[in-house]
Subunit: 433 residues, 4 copies
């Protein structure tokens, strides 16, 4: 499709500038206060109705929320980094992300388009070889970095809004733009889904930049498989402290946790396919000469499908509880997030394929690629499918300078304009495709 009503060159520059702004101020899951405010600002410029704050969430489904102190610290930081305190204040407590509805002037389906907006807990490289560092837009937030391309996703979402706003007279139906918080850790989708935003979507589309190795910009996959099922758990062991000279008086939570860690890694492999288990962090004990009374760990299980992941999760829970019991401790296991596997709808993918053939910049279309990871867009997609809609997750290829989640990760900024054109084209043409 040819978007001749818009100066696409100028728009692309604007979106790249936005992406770089997001890149300098990365915010982790449930703390995207400034990011969300900035998105809303742009959407408001377009006159779009935007929903945000507690009204779009279901508190008890906001998995993996940081603790209050961390939320408040990020909130305070955001207040210093924004002119729109009015917006930020409404999100206090973690109610980040927003939804915008673009109403077409023609009758037609409801199309959900989702982008994710949170960053990673990764230190960004300061090397001159790393473009954001060399060109001065590296993260200003120590320990945080957009190392998964969600800064580009956010800019793509805004770009999509800008294009579609200019073509509302040609738009059949309406487009629900979803700026999702907390994708990392598979934490954010459940809350928005539980709030019922997606149940009326006839179509639902997501896209991720990168993922595939060694792809030119212009390569797009119209659907993917290999979304691993995954569950994120935190476990906290409670024991009884004692002086190291009287260990029989204690209940050693560190020993329980160490036992758990080893035996979690020893959960058997599954005959049906790939599984994974990781104990990512472990913290225990208060002093060298005290029998440790507490230990906490964060872990995750993965499986090629839901059955395998369920086996892993069930085994993990058994290991955690038995390890605690072994040392006379207790163990609180907290569910922190999850995503399931999903099948993209081939009919939708086929439609998308036909549309993309005419999108400027699309050079190569792949039919079905291996995502080989978890994505909580699957939570939304499943909800859409269960309500009778169709969903697919695309991959927007680009050369990878470094793996995702690495301090040297960077995006080829041409994908931003391309992504916006892709989403906009699909929205405008899907009812005919």
């Amino acid at each position: 499709m040819n978007f001749d009503r818009i100066d696409m060159e100028a728009l692309e520059k604007e979106l790249i500038a936005l992406r770089r702004e997001f890149h300098t101020c990365p915010e982790a899951g449930w703390t995207e206060f400034r990011t969300t405010a900035r998105i809303i600002e742009e959407l408001e410029k377009l006159g779009l109705p935007v929903q945000y704050g507690p009204e779009i969430h279901v508190r008890e489904k906001m998995y993996g929320l940081p603790d209050d102190a961390a939320l408040e610290a990020c909130y305070a930081r955001a207040l210093e980094e924004t002119n729109r305190k009015d917006l930020v204040e409404k999100m206090r407590g973690g109610y980040t992300g927003c939804l915008a509805m673009i109403e077409g002037e023609l009758p037609g389906p409801t199309i959900g388009i989702r982008v994710d907006i949170d960053c990673n807990e990764v230190d960004e490289s300061s090397s001159d070889l790393h473009k954001p560092a060399a060109e001065g837009f590296a993260s200003l937030h120590k320990g945080l970095m957009h190392a998964c391309g969600h800064d580009a996703h956010t800019a793509i979402g805004i770009g999509t809004a800008k294009i579609l706003s200019a073509y509302r007279d040609k738009l059949h139906g309406k487009v629900l733009l979803v700026f999702q918080p907390g994708e990392e850790g598979l934490r954010g989708a459940a809350s928005l889904t539980a709030a019922g935003h997606f149940s009326k979507c006839d179509y639902f589309l997501g896209a991720h930049v990168g993922i595939l190795k060694n792809q030119e910009v212009g390569t797009i996959a119209v659907s993917a498989h290999g979304f691993l099922s995954s569950t994120k758990l935190d476990a906290v062991f409670h024991g009884v402290p004692a002086h190291a000279a009287t260990p029989d008086e204690g209940k050693n939570a560190l020993a329980a946790a160490a036992t758990a860690a080893l035996n979690l890694l020893a959960i058997p492999r599954h005959q049906q396919g790939p599984s994974r288990i990781n104990v990512g962090t472990l913290h225990a004990g208060s002093g060298r000469n005290v029998i440790p009374e507490w230990a906490s760990m964060s872990l995750e299980t993965r499986g090629k499908n839901g059955e395998i992941n369920a086996f892993m999760e069930e085994s993990a829970r058994r290991v955690l509880e038995a390890s605690a019991a072994m040392y006379g401790c207790t163990c609180d296991i907290r569910f922190m997030g999850s995503a399931g596997s999903i099948d993209c709808d081939p009919a939708l993918a086929h439609k998308v394929k036909r549309i993309l053939a005419d999108v400027d910049g699309v050079k190569k279309i792949l039919e079905d690629v291996d995502f080989n990871g978890g994505e909580d867009v699957t939570t939304m997609m499943r909800d859409v499918q269960e309500h009778g809609g169709k969903a697919t997750e695309m991959v927007i290829g680009m050369p990878l300078t470094a793996p995702h989640h690495n301090g040297f990760f960077d995006v080829s900024e041409e994908v931003i304009g391309l992504g916006a054109r892709v989403f906009a084209s699909i929205a405008l043409e899907i009812d005919e495709a």
Copy 2:
């Protein structure tokens, strides 16, 4: 005391020959068929009434019985090594050991004297440096050896009977001679005790050769402390087998047992004093490419006192059960034997000390030595004390060629005659001491 009615030199030679005979045919706990038969033969020669077989035992207290196949194999071996099948047959099933009563002609107390008769599961050295090997009386039973001196104890018990039988006119009261099976593993005392044999004893005496380092023959301790409390357990883990290619279908009993083993060793030390834990054996699995469906281990806990040992045993049971649960297995824990700590009666020890001053061959008397090990004579002693009697365990010193339970262990045979004189003297003089 001077035993001039007896040719002590000839008796000592006879007892040494008996000890060597026992040394060549060692029998482990509950399989002392031939040994018991041989003891009875000697006691019968003296005209003493002897009790043996099922009548002296309480089956459900016969802890740590070998399995039926092992009992039968040893029984068969004994039948080949004895002329007294009549005696052996009555013991079939593990009913070994015997009791003999020597009635004095004068009124007086009941005095229990206990010796133990079983051997160790140790390979005897075949070195020329090891006297039993060099002189041709080493064990004929592969894997079995009298490496704790119970062969000498048995001979001392017979010697005591021979001396006392010659002095019944001077004996006040009566002497109950106890030839206990299954001391190793602390298995045999409970059955005899439960049968009520010791409840009427006014005095109760035991003795062990060796124990103390670097002692001349002639050194005797009249009491001891440091009897470790100990519990012997067997644990059998049951899981579910599976092919190694489908490990998710199995419940891995070997993994459960390995987890248990490590965490048993990690049971905390106790502030009150020494504790010990050992997993002595572990057997698991049926084939390289099968997820192991079973595992069995033998273990023991020890503690300086009953409280410490109870802490160890309780912790061990918790570890075993949690390890099984961790792998979806079950665990049968079987009680195999135990012994407790005990306080020897100082008043009895004092009497013994006075008597020993006049016993031929006694050169040095120690008042209270550190036994530093478990002994199930404590089970009998406690029973006596609870019924109002007094009890002590003596130590008959000798130079040690090697540690107890070592393939080079040997006894200084002078202790045999000396031990018999000690017991006989105490029995004859205690009412006056």
Copy 3:
């Protein structure tokens, strides 16, 4: 092909009888003394030249040989079960298996056909529901059973010889019949391969009964993938014994082995595909109150390809050595067998497919099935391929009464005649296919 020179019905009955005979006298890897002698008897009846004994093996490649005592015990058993001591004697020491060459009268290629002859270490079911038990041909060797169909394979091999011997005038080239010992544990192929028997084969064919679930007799797969790479290792830990009361004097081999077992299971999963690790057996310690001075374990690693298996094996060796070092022990790691992954030759499979279309009893032909296990026929196949030949492994489907290696496993005996016809047809027609 139509074998009208032969009374196929009678032959099938004869082969079934042979299979049942093999079933009653199962022999494990490197102890197939009686089995091999019986095969040779049948081959000799056909006038075929047979090679066997030390001349066909390379001693240092006879992996996973039982120890001498076990070899001798099985040898003695075989001598009691055979009339052909002359044959058995030549195999003493484990030199089992044999090779027979069938020379065709027409010029043509050399075709290797391999069957395996060893049994499993599995207790056979005595249930009436289990046909060998109900009909009286269950294993007479306790703890041993043909639970993987090698009894049928052996009969198929003999049947193939019988058919081909009747058609030598029509046979292009020659057929090398391989009766391989020690397939279980992946132990036998290396020795025969190293001896150079297969380097001149133009074609090489194997076949396994069962494998696929829920197949009718008559289903044949002409090639397979999913041969897991696998390595079999034994590890023996040596420590220092000590009395359980003085554990600081010991070096605890059981603790080292338990640590190894857990950490072996915790070797990370591999991103490239399936891996497996199993510690199948663990034996340690000599007595409850002795710090264990030794421990031995049998383990295996598996991987979807050689790289994954190499990662597993290397990790396993590191775990074993570090576990030993941790407890001041040493660890001997012994290579016991291995098999690699393989790609069947599609061209050969295609030829076989065409031939099978006309074989009596073949109802359904599958092109390429998932073997999902290790098979050391791959060692031979790789050797053939490396020398320029083509190889494939077929699967002869049948309903499964129970999984392979299970005490209820049984074969549908129709596969025996079918298998013989399949091999014979391929040998006779491959030069034209």
Copy 4:
């Protein structure tokens, strides 16, 4: 002795006020900036020459120093809490503690008197049942508390200086007052000892309040045994990070540390007597979905004597290194502090006993009590003994409201004046005793 030159009642009140001041501003080892400055202020008032800062330490023996950031943070806090920045500045970098010399006017021996001044890393109770909280002098430093009585020790040291300063005309020889930093963790004594301050001491005295259970104020032990040998180690594991989906690419430092933790706890008990091992803290990993590339732990070993502790430390180092090797990681083991066992000099204890008989407030004198813990005064004592002097560590009894190192621990403030009188009396009379 009767200190009639001094208003003891006023002095006691002053010392109690000082103790409470120290209690509100607790400082942990090597950060006693404000505490030391306050001590120096008091000593300067007496006109005593005081040594402090880098000149009294040997940098490379300042074990267990906090990292620079922590040192600086505590330094900054101290600057805010003191009027004597001149003093504090000289200690920057951790050079805390001080020495004061009191010269007698009469010839005589050199007497070392040592008190320790650091606090614990313990949260103080805010309960009304806890006197410091109820009366408003609880710690103002979150996470820090004088929970071992070193606040009282410090006040005792100052009180001793005050009394002795008034009696210099009666003092034979001279008194070296040692205000030692970093006793907790057994970190501070080595540096001062290495600097040679104690080599000329003829006598050396320490004292600890509490320790004994259920003692009235007025009970003093003139010597103690049972000083456990102890070693403090930190271990840092370095691995290789990887995404949790590709665990084979990582080297899992958390797994190495968990293995180490379990196997450290499993180090065998020692036949010679009590041993201890504790892994007090463990921190590992950077994110849930990252194979952990680092782990750090703090641990300590203890033994009844140096030989046992050496066995524990050597075993611990072996476990740490093997655990790292097992996972392809490396392990840095850092020595953080130690203390040895010591024998108090009976002759000195005897002299002290005679002197104490006349000290006001001493009601009961014990000869030799079980310290049952580590104390790095032993490092100083050993140095004195090795140079020909005599040393003893006293215990000043008091009722215990809670165990040492507990948030409810409190001292009976009468022990402060008592302790000062005890030290002063000994210093004034030892040359005659």
